[in-house]
């Protein structure tokens, strides 16, 4: 066995841990209580004014939450909601909503 392989695997593992690129959908579900009031029990929203989140692309959801956080996207409700979210919260919540089924790519 090439002795470099374990080193490579270990460094990939450390990179993953350091940059935390993936969220935990189960943890996200537990953090989603405040979201449910508008976005529904399972990511299908309660009003036509609020977007469905179920099955949306994870990287789009991350970008949206970060854009609310940095002011690039403006919405009084969402800017208030994201103010207290950490990057870990965003990863977990978006992992949860993107893992559901709902939205489709439509031509």
């Amino acid at each position: 066995m090439n002795p470099r392989i374990p080193v490579l695997v270990l460094s990939l593992f450390l990179a993953e841990a350091a940059f935390g690129a993936s969220g935990d959908a189960d943890v996200g579900r537990k953090k989603s209580e405040p979201c449910k009031a508008c976005h529904g029990e399972a990511g299908i929203s309660v009003s036509p004014d609020f977007p469905n989140l179920a099955g949306q692309h994870v990287d789009y959801l991350r970008a949206a939450l970060n854009h609310y956080k940095n002011g690039k996207r403006k919405n009084p409700i969402m800017q208030g909601q994201v103010a207290n979210l950490s990057q870990k919260d965003i990863l977990d919540l978006t992992a949860y909503y993107s893992s559901q089924h709902g939205l489709d790519v439509k031509y």
Partner: protein, 110 residues
């Protein structure tokens, strides 16, 4: 009293008129949307890279609000701003009705 059923009928008939958009019209107006939102796995190229959102099954009023937000600057994405700038409110409502509606034989994928 006897007019009540008539009033109810009139309301029932007029209700669809209030659900603004025309999905069939929207299906003919979405040529600018298809190149990104109709391609599974398509990502934005500039200024940040992330997947373009899935629109199939999205709420109609939300889609209209999003398009208006691009038009008035509350949402900031160069491509979407350019496209929304030329859409009328009627166009936005028709497109929203199309995307919110059922897949209806269109190529829809998860």
């Amino acid at each position: 009293m006897i007019y009540r059923p008539l009033i109810a009928l009139a309301l029932a008939v007029s209700l669809p008129a209030f659900s603004a958009g025309d999905a069939a019209a929207g299906a003919k107006k979405n040529f600018q949307c298809q190149g990104c939102h109709g391609v599974p796995g398509w990502k934005t190229a500039f200024p940040e890279i992330y997947s373009v959102p899935k629109l199939g099954g999205q709420k109609a009023s939300y889609i209209v609000a999003a398009l208006k937000a691009y038009k008035n600057g509350d949402r900031d994405h160069p491509t979407m701003k350019a496209i929304a700038a030329d859409l009328s409110e009627r166009d936005m409502e028709d497109l929203a009705a199309y995307y919110a509606g059922p897949a209806a034989g269109a190529a829809a994928t998860k």
